[in-house]
C-alpha cells in the first residue's frame, strides 16, 4: 500500500508543478493578459468540471447506489442539470456584471453592503457543508489504504489542502483544473471498463438481476469504521481476527468503530441502523430511496430541486466562470460543461451495481463510500487489482484536492475580503484557521454519507443564492430589503431543517423527507419572500438600468490591441 500513498503524493507534486510552471511560462504583462482573455470555452469547461467533480461524485454516488439502490443515480442527473439552469439563467448575465462572487454581485446589482456581508456568511455555510464531506471521504480512503485511524486521515487531508493552497498550487488554476479533469476522467473510466471485463459472467448476471442480500454467500470480513447498530432475528456467531467469537443478537447490538468481524457463510445478514438489506424490493427501483422513509417520488423530486437549482449558487463554480473573456463564452462554457459531466457520470452506476454484488459486506460496515476503491482487489487479488486500486485512490484524491482547494480559497476569500477586510497575510492565516475548523467538523462526520452532506450544501445554495441571482438578473423590481429577507428566510429554513434532521427526534414518512431534504419548501419560500417584500417596497429608479446592463451583449470582438 506504500505504492498507493506514493502515487497520491505524485499527483500532488504534478499538480503543484503545473501550477508553478503555468506561472513561470508567462513572462510579460501582455502574455498574462492575453492568456487570461483567450481561455477557450472548451478548456474552461474542462476546468469547471475538474473543480466540480468532487469526492462526492468520484466515490459518494457509487456508495449511495450500494446503500440505497439504483435510484441514487438521480444524484448525478441533478448535478448535471444544474449547469443547464446555470446556462439558461445565470452564466452570461453574471459574467457581464463583472462580479466574481455572489457577494460582489449583491453589491453590483443592489448596492447593498449589508447584503454583501450576508452573502459572504452564506458562502461560509455552503463551503463548510461542501468541504466537510470532502475531508471526511479523503480521510476514510486514506485510513482504508494505509490502516491509519480515521482521524489521522482527516488531519492529513486537511494539511494537504492547506499546504497546496499555501504553496500556490492553484496559480494558473485553469490549467491545473483542466488537467485534473482529464486525470479524473481517465482514472474513473479505465478501472470501470477493466472491472466489467474482469468479473465472471455469473457476477455480471447477478449484478443486473439483484436478489436481496439475506444470507452471507461466503465468509465475509467486515471492518467497522463507524459505530453501527446491527439487528438480527436469530443469533449470529461472528469470528474476530484474533480467533475469538462474538455472538450477535437476537435483537439489537451496537458494534464499535475499529472492530473487525468475520461472518460465516450461510449466516443471516443483520439489518443496519434500522434500514433494510441491499438488493431488496426497493433497491432495484429507479427512484430515490431516502433512508427507507417511503415516498420515493417525493424524495427524487426533492433532491432534484436542490441539486438542479443549487449548482448556480456554488461559490467555487461561479468563481471559475470569470476566466471566460465575456458573457458569450461564459454561456458556451456552461453548455460544454453539461456534455463533459455527462461523460463522467455514465460510470458511477457501474461501480455501484458491481459493488453490491462483490462487496456487500461494506454495507454492514455503515460506510459504503469506499466501494469504488474496494472493488479491484475483490476482482483480482494480483498486481492488476493493486494497480487499479492505486489508480482509483489517486483519482479520488485528485477529486478531493481539486474541489477542496477551490472551496477553501473561496471561504478564506469571503472571510478576509468581505467579512473582515484585510491584506494578503490575513488571507494566509485565514486559510489555516478555516482548514483547522473544518477538520474539527469532519472528525465526527464519518457516519454521514458524502452524497447527503453535499446535497445539503446544494440545498442552502438553492434556497438563498438561486433566488437572489435569478430575481436579480431577471426581475427589475427586486429591492434590497426583499433580497435580504429572502436570503435570511431561505437560510433559516434550510439550517433549521438540517439541525432537525441531525439532532431532532426521528421522523417517518413524507415529513421525514421534507426535513432531511427541505428544498421543495425552502426554495419556493425564499422566492416568495423576496417577491412579496420587494413588491411592498419601492425599487430605486436606477434598478431597471442595473438589471438591463446585465443583458447587453459585448460588441463583437476586434483583433487584440497592438503591443
Amino acid at each position: 500500500m506504500t505504492v498507493t500513498l506514493l502515487a497520491v503524493a505524485a499527483v500532488m507534486v504534478v499538480t503543484l508543478l503545473i501550477g508553478l510552471h503555468g506561472v513561470a511560462a508567462m513572462r510579460t504583462t501582455s502574455d498574462f493578459l492575453v492568456a487570461s482573455r483567450r481561455v477557450s470555452p472548451l478548456l474552461n469547461s474542462a476546468a469547471v468540471s475538474g473543480e466540480y467533480l468532487s469526492a462526492a461524485s468520484f466515490l459518494g454516488v457509487a456508495g449511495l447506489v450500494v446503500r440505497d439502490g439504483i435510484g441514487a443515480l438521480w444524484y448525478p442527473v441533478g448535478f448535471t442539470a444544474g449547469y443547464i439552469a446555470m446556462l439558461i439563467l445565470v452564466a452570461a448575465p453574471m459574467r457581464r456584471s463583472g462580479a466574481l462572487t455572489v457577494p460582489d454581485f449583491a453589491e453590483a446589482r443592489l448596492a447593498s453592503p449589508g447584503l454583501r456581508r450576508l452573502s459572504a456568511a452564506v458562502v461560509l455555510v455552503i463551503g463548510a457543508l461542501y468541504l466537510v464531506p470532502q475531508l471526511r471521504t479523503a480521510g476514510l480512503v486514506l485510513s482504508m489504504v494505509s490502516s491509519l485511524p480515521y482521524w489521522v486521515g482527516v488531519v492529513i487531508a486537511g494539511v494537504v489542502v492547506s499546504a497546496t493552497l499555501a504553496l500556490g498550487g492553484m496559480r494558473a488554476a485553469t490549467y491545473v483544473q483542466a488537467f485534473q479533469f482529464l486525470v479524473k476522467l481517465l482514472l474513473f473510466i479505465v478501472p470501470a471498463v477493466w472491472l466489467v471485463a474482469a468479473v465472471t459472467p455469473e457476477e455480471r448476471h447477478t449484478a443486473v438481476h439483484p436478489v436481496e442480500f439475506t444470507h452471507f454467500t461466503e465468509d465475509t470480513t467486515v471492518e467497522f469504521r463507524v459505530d453501527v447498530t446491527l439487528e438480527t432475528s436469530e443469533a449470529v456467531t461472528a469470528a474476530t481476527p484474533d480467533g475469538g467469537e462474538v455472538v450477535i443478537g437476537p435483537g439489537e447490538v451496537t458494534v464499535e468503530a475499529g472492530q473487525t468481524l468475520v461472518f460465516p457463510e450461510g449466516a443471516p445478514v443483520p439489518e443496519v441502523n434500522g434500514g433494510g438489506t441491499p438488493g431488496g424490493e426497493q433497491w432495484h427501483r429507479p427512484l430515490l430511496n431516502l433512508s427507507d422513509y417511503g415516498h420515493p417520488l417525493l424524495a427524487t423530486l426533492a433532491m432534484l430541486t436542490a441539486t438542479a437549482l443549487g449548482t448556480m449558487g456554488l461559490p467555487h463554480v461561479l468563481m471559475r466562470f470569470h476566466t471566460s473573456p465575456d458573457g458569450r463564452s461564459a454561456r458556451r462554457t456552461a453548455a460544454f460543461t453539461v456534455a463533459l459531466l455527462g461523460v463522467f457520470y455514465l460510470f458511477p452506476g457501474v461501480y455501484g451495481v458491481l459493488g453490491r454484488v462483490l462487496v456487500p459486506g461494506l454495507y454492514l460496515s455503515g460506510v459504503t463510500d469506499t466501494v469504488v476503491v474496494a472493488l479491484p482487489s475483490q476482482v483480482s487479488p494480483g498486481w492488476v487489482g493493486a494497480l487499479m486500486t492505486t489508480l482509483l485512490v489517486v483519482g479520488a484524491f485528485a477529486a478531493f484536492l481539486a474541489t477542496s482547494v477551490g472551496l477553501l480559497l473561496v471561504i478564506s476569500g469571503a472571510i478576509s475580503h468581505d467579512l473582515l477586510p484585510g491584506g494578503l497575510r490575513r488571507l494566509r492565516i485565514t486559510v489555516l484557521a478555516a482548514a483547522g475548523v473544518l477538520v474539527l467538523l469532519a472528525l465526527p462526520s464519518a457516519p454521514l454519507a458524502a452524497g447527503m452532506l453535499v446535497t445539503w450544501g446544494f440545498t442552502v445554495a438553492a434556497s438563498t443564492f438561486c433566488p437572489l441571482l435569478v430575481l436579480g438578473i431577471w426581475w427589475p423590481r427586486l429591492t434590497r430589503t426583499g433580497a435580504v429577507s429572502g436570503v435570511l428566510v431561505g437560510l433559516a429554513g434550510t439550517l433549521g431543517a438540517i439541525a432537525m434532521a441531525l439532532f431532532g427526534p426521528p421522523l417517518e414518512g413524507w415529513q421525514a423527507i421534507l426535513v432531511a431534504q427541505p428544498a421543495p419548501w425552502t426554495v419556493p419560500l425564499a422566492f416568495t419572500t423576496m417577491v412579496v417584500v420587494s413588491l411592498r417596497g419601492q425599487a430605486p429608479p436606477w434598478s431597471r438600468t442595473a438589471m438591463l446592463r446585465l443583458h447587453l451583449d459585448e460588441p463583437p470582438r476586434t483583433s487584440p490591441p497592438n503591443r
Partner: protein, 116 residues
C-alpha cells in the same frame, strides 16, 4: 552582461478593479446606459427571457417527467435490454445526451438572439 527585463507585478484587470473597489468601499456609482444601448438591452432582455422560459419549461418537464414515468410504469424494471433492466438504462444513460442536446439548443438560440 545582458540586461534582464525589469520585473513588474502583474494582476488581471479584474483583480485591479477589485483592489480599487476594496480601497474605496462604499463608493458605488449609479449604473448608466446610453439610450441606444438601453434600447438594445431592453430588446435582448425580452427575447432572452422568452427563450429562457421555453428552455426551462422543457428541461423541468423532462426532469420531472422521467420519475413520473418510472412511478407510473414499474413494468420498465422488468423489460430488459442486453439483460439490463430498461429503467436502469433510462436513468443511467438517457438523461446525459438529452441534457447535452437541450444545453446546445439553448446555446444556439441564445446566441442567435444576440447576433440580430
Amino acid at each position: 552582461m545582458p540586461q534582464r527585463p525589469k520585473r513588474v507585478a502583474v494582476t488581471s484587470p479584474q483583480t485591479r478593479l477589485a483592489h480599487l473597489r476594496g480601497r474605496a468601499r462604499g463608493r458605488w456609482r449609479v449604473p448608466r446606459l446610453d439610450p441606444e444601448d438601453a434600447e438594445r438591452a431592453e430588446r435582448l432582455y425580452r427575447l432572452q427571457r422568452r427563450q429562457g422560459l421555453l428552455a426551462l419549461v422543457a428541461g423541468a418537464a423532462a426532469l420531472v417527467g422521467l420519475p413520473l414515468v418510472f412511478a407510473a410504469w414499474p413494468v420498465l424494471d422488468e423489460v430488459r435490454v442486453w439483460s439490463i433492466p430498461l429503467s436502469w438504462l433510462m436513468l443511467a444513460v438517457l438523461p446525459y445526451p438529452t441534457m447535452a442536446a437541450l444545453a446546445f439548443w439553448q446555446l444556439y438560440r441564445a446566441e442567435r438572439i444576440e447576433r440580430r
